[in-house]
Point group: C2
Chain length 359, copies 2
């Protein structure tokens, strides 16, 4: 147990499993007694080669990823993927996008730099409080892109949108590995690590290998998926420590019981929070009930003044990171895989007390 | 003191100062007693805001960087900078490049994707064993790019090449901050962190602000320098732990006496090694004497068999990372800022013993 730890509801970079933190700490000065610290080892040495291969293998195991897919480690976050997806895969056709909020919009804005874009569905009409269901694919669709979970608006797809024969591309940055996933439904999945997977600084991409044939020549070398696939993510020096930590997080997920167990825990945590929100009129969930996220639980109080007081008291009570995104305000409790259920119980208790004192 | 530490001659990721490693370890579980581990904190929180601002401030102090320059933190390594420099700064003119080896060639190959390139000087004719002195700038030069230190061939510029009024652009990945530098001579300097600055996963860029006016519209957003300058490197989630470690390394440099002290130590370490190499015929330095690197000391023995034996015995004696780059073979001792002089003395002792036994 780590001492003096507070409950960390940060939307990302986010809480990591204690076991992982302790493991990383113990290898920081002398990795597995090799005489070098984890951050000081060549990326071409035996130790790091094992780390990156093990990390990929654990991910493949957790998701039963077939050999039809490559697993690569990139940098630049999901934002860089917004560009890479379009630059690599548009191929003169039309990028289809589902617009469910800020991150979808940014992905769309990037794609427009590189080709045609069609918004196949949008929930902008109801202020992004829902997940759209009717998908209107364009002719000559290159792919269908969606944001599986929307950290800012607290909404989440409960199942994949229907893309027909068009490759489905998912920005899964904020809910990757929160439950089992059938990778074979996807053309490409990407996820910045700093929510469910590890620290910031590395972005995982799972790509169906046949899509590599679409990639045009003369892309900037680090923007070309083939650089990572052909070089096994070692074309140049990768972010070694972030990859190592991701590997440890994946092993932790596996040891906890894998994605089935993660889903169970995550559904329980979210249910407890939504139940507290729905128990009366004091708190009001911002996402429509059928579209609620199990990762980011967003809610409002009657006034901004009351929200400020809530955040102030919550902070004093040892809850960190509950402030909603600066673009929308309100309260946001991010409860990713590593967030402990005790923290949810404690927050619900606090919410009840706060309501008693201020209701 | 960290126990059971071996001498780490890795070319990168490379040895870090022990004080820094201990500091990072102590903040990994509970950063400055804030209740969150270093990797778990929001990049928009008070703690990380201080970290990134302090890191920039320390760099500005060490190099006396004026307000005419922006300091930014990017990802993708120097390789990504090969593309970014050309995409952002060619502006329809000709990129002038000095070719001093593998990394220069890669920078040239990237620039050719985005415009005209002129090789203004090259040491390819003598197998990159020297630093060229005659610079032949083209008409309409956008900039002059050079690689200040060549990790593979063990050569290094002892002074900046003459670029006249053309902005000088430097890949300083393997020798940044090894000695004082007059930033005002440069248009742009970039450096992957994993040699002199910290762990892999972050790349520092110092850019003269007037050059930002050259940048064309509609670059991929994370490939546009303005994204980092305007967003103070926080447009999206940056690699928080690598930036934190860089900050600690910079503070360590400052505490040791700054860049004047670094230069003194580095010159001493390199001198001791070159003296051992030049003491007889058993070892042979690969770089010409006037072009020798003080960061990467490269040498050969009489045969590849003897080199293999040298590496095997060195490893058994507790010296790590001495194998030359796979493209050229031989021996390479990388002795960056954080490499201790005791390690150099120990290696020289080992070299003498090895010569006695095998000479």
């Amino acid at each position: 147990m780590i001492e003096n730890r507070i409950f960390n509801f940060s939307a990302g970079p986010a809480v990591l499993p204690e076991d992982v933190l302790l493991q990383v700490r113990d290898n920081l000065l002398n990795y597995k007694n090799c005489g070098l610290g984890m951050m000081e080892m060549s990326h071409r040495g035996k130790e790091f080669t094992e780390i990156i291969q093990d990390t990929e293998a654990t991910l493949r195991k957790l998701l039963s990823i077939s050999d039809d897919y490559a697993v690569i480690f990139t940098t630049g976050g999901a934002t860089n993927q917004f560009s890479m997806v379009a630059m690599n895969l548009l191929g003169g056709a039309t990028g289809n996008y589902i617009n469910t909020g800020v991150w979808s919009k940014k992905a769309i804005a990037e794609a427009k730099k590189f080709g045609e874009v069609h918004v196949a569905a949008s929930s902008e009409g109801d202020s992004f409080s829902s997940i759209p269901t009717n998908i209107d694919l364009s002719n000559n669709a290159a792919y269908l892109h969606f944001t599986s979970n929307n950290t800012i608006f607290g909404t989440q797809f409960s199942a994949e949108p229907q893309a027909g024969s068009t490759p489905l591309i998912c920005d899964a940055s904020s809910d990757f590995l929160h439950k089992p996933l059938d990778v074979s439904k996807y053309g490409l999945i990407y996820a910045g690590a700093q929510k469910n997977l590890g620290p910031s600084g590395v972005t995982l991409v799972v790509i169906r290998k046949d899509l590599l044939e679409r990639i045009p020549e003369n892309l900037p070398i680090m923007m070309d998926y083939r650089t990572y696939v052909d070089g096994e993510s070692l074309y140049n020096t990768p972010p070694t420590l972030p990859i190592y930590v991701v590997g440890e997080v994946l092993k932790w997920i596996d040891a906890q019981g894998g994605l089935v167990e993660m889903e169970k825990r995550n559904r329980n945590k979210a249910a407890v929070l939504y139940q507290a929100i729905d128990a009366g009129d004091f708190y009001r969930g911002t996402a429509q009930k059928g579209s609620r996220s199990v990762m980011n639980v967003t809610f409002r109080l009657a006034s901004e003044n009351l929200e400020s007081l809530f955040l102030e008291k919550a902070k004093a009570a040892g809850f960190s990171g509950l402030k909603g995104h600066r673009s929308v305000g309100g309260i946001r409790a991010s409860v990713y895989n590593a967030f402990p259920s005790q923290g949810v119980d404690a927050l619900v208790e606090f919410m009840k007390e706060f309501e008693s004192s201020n209701g």
